[in-house]
Symmetry: C2
Subunit: 176 residues, 2 copies
């Protein structure tokens, strides 16, 4: 049977995705479940903590790291754009929108460090592997930002594979 905690997390995730961060309230989540709001507070303390708690494991680009280094940028881009579905993009946008909180900014750093920068740094032979990985992460964040927040639909008009073809040289240039 689903625990109360799991039920709260499930309903919260749906409400955050559908309504955004601002309009979602712990009271509204409790109401949908027919439970007392104090239970939501008991399990998750605050709305911000609830948001940070329900984020799933970060999609990792680990599998993309196998293979020739000349096409590493492309494989990472594919792994990122394919593994982050619509839901993950939306959570990226929500986290970004709540980033006036230091806890959220810390999480944004952590997410990219764990999912991307750490594995990539370990894969690169260069003495400045860390900086290269961070530069590549900046370029990748820019694409996520442009799709999920600026909503520049011209970028995705020809489909994800076409976008990957066009953007891969930029990521690769930062790794070479």
């Amino acid at each position: 049977m689903e625990t109360t905690r799991a039920a709260i997390a499930r309903v919260a995730a749906r409400q955050f995705l559908e309504a955004g961060y601002g309009p979602t309230t712990m009271r509204g989540i409790a109401a949908e479940l027919g439970i007392d709001p104090s239970l939501v507070i008991h399990h998750f303390k605050s709305k911000e903590n609830l948001l940070l708690s329900i984020l799933g494991p970060t999609p990792t680009v680990l599998d993309a790291l196998d293979g020739p280094r000349e096409t590493l940028g492309r494989r990472i881009l594919e792994a990122l754009l394919v593994s982050v579905g619509e839901g993950s993009l939306r959570f990226f946008a929500i986290l970004t929108q709540v980033s006036d909180s230091e806890a959220v900014r810390a999480r944004l750093r952590e997410v990219f460090d764990e999912a991307l920068i750490g594995p990539l740094r370990a894969r690169l032979p260069h003495p400045d592997a860390d900086l290269r990985a961070r530069l590549a992460a900046a370029a990748l964040r820019g694409l996520l930002y442009s799709i999920a927040i600026v909503e520049d639909d011209a970028l995705t008009a020809d489909g994800m594979p076409a976008l990957i073809d066009r953007y891969a040289p930029a990521v690769q240039a930062l790794l070479d």
Copy 2:
């Protein structure tokens, strides 16, 4: 003499920069000026509208467009990182954090269209100049995002000129 409207805009800009969007209130702005809050509402309607109204003219990369095309990426990057001072980066972060509003997302699109994508598209000879300009904008946004929101200090640790050296090849790869 400074008009009431100009005084409100000046104090609002300072409060937004210092306290962030959330903690800044129209009431607090009125209090600092010793005027009635209804005057702030009269001039600017809402806090969101106040934020959108006080943004200065977008720094443009127009001057960077003159010169050889092989180094265009680098010159645009310089123009952007040099012309956006600390204040502009902070406003970029604030606008991004308020981007669950469609009006703010529209402004974010507009800012980049006017400052970067339009001029750049006009400079490129390729039939797909628009897409190239948008891809370059995505990469540039990624760098602003990584500096101003994620606060990845490792990127700027060696100074802006060093960062420009490292990131320029990515921007150039999207234009070539």
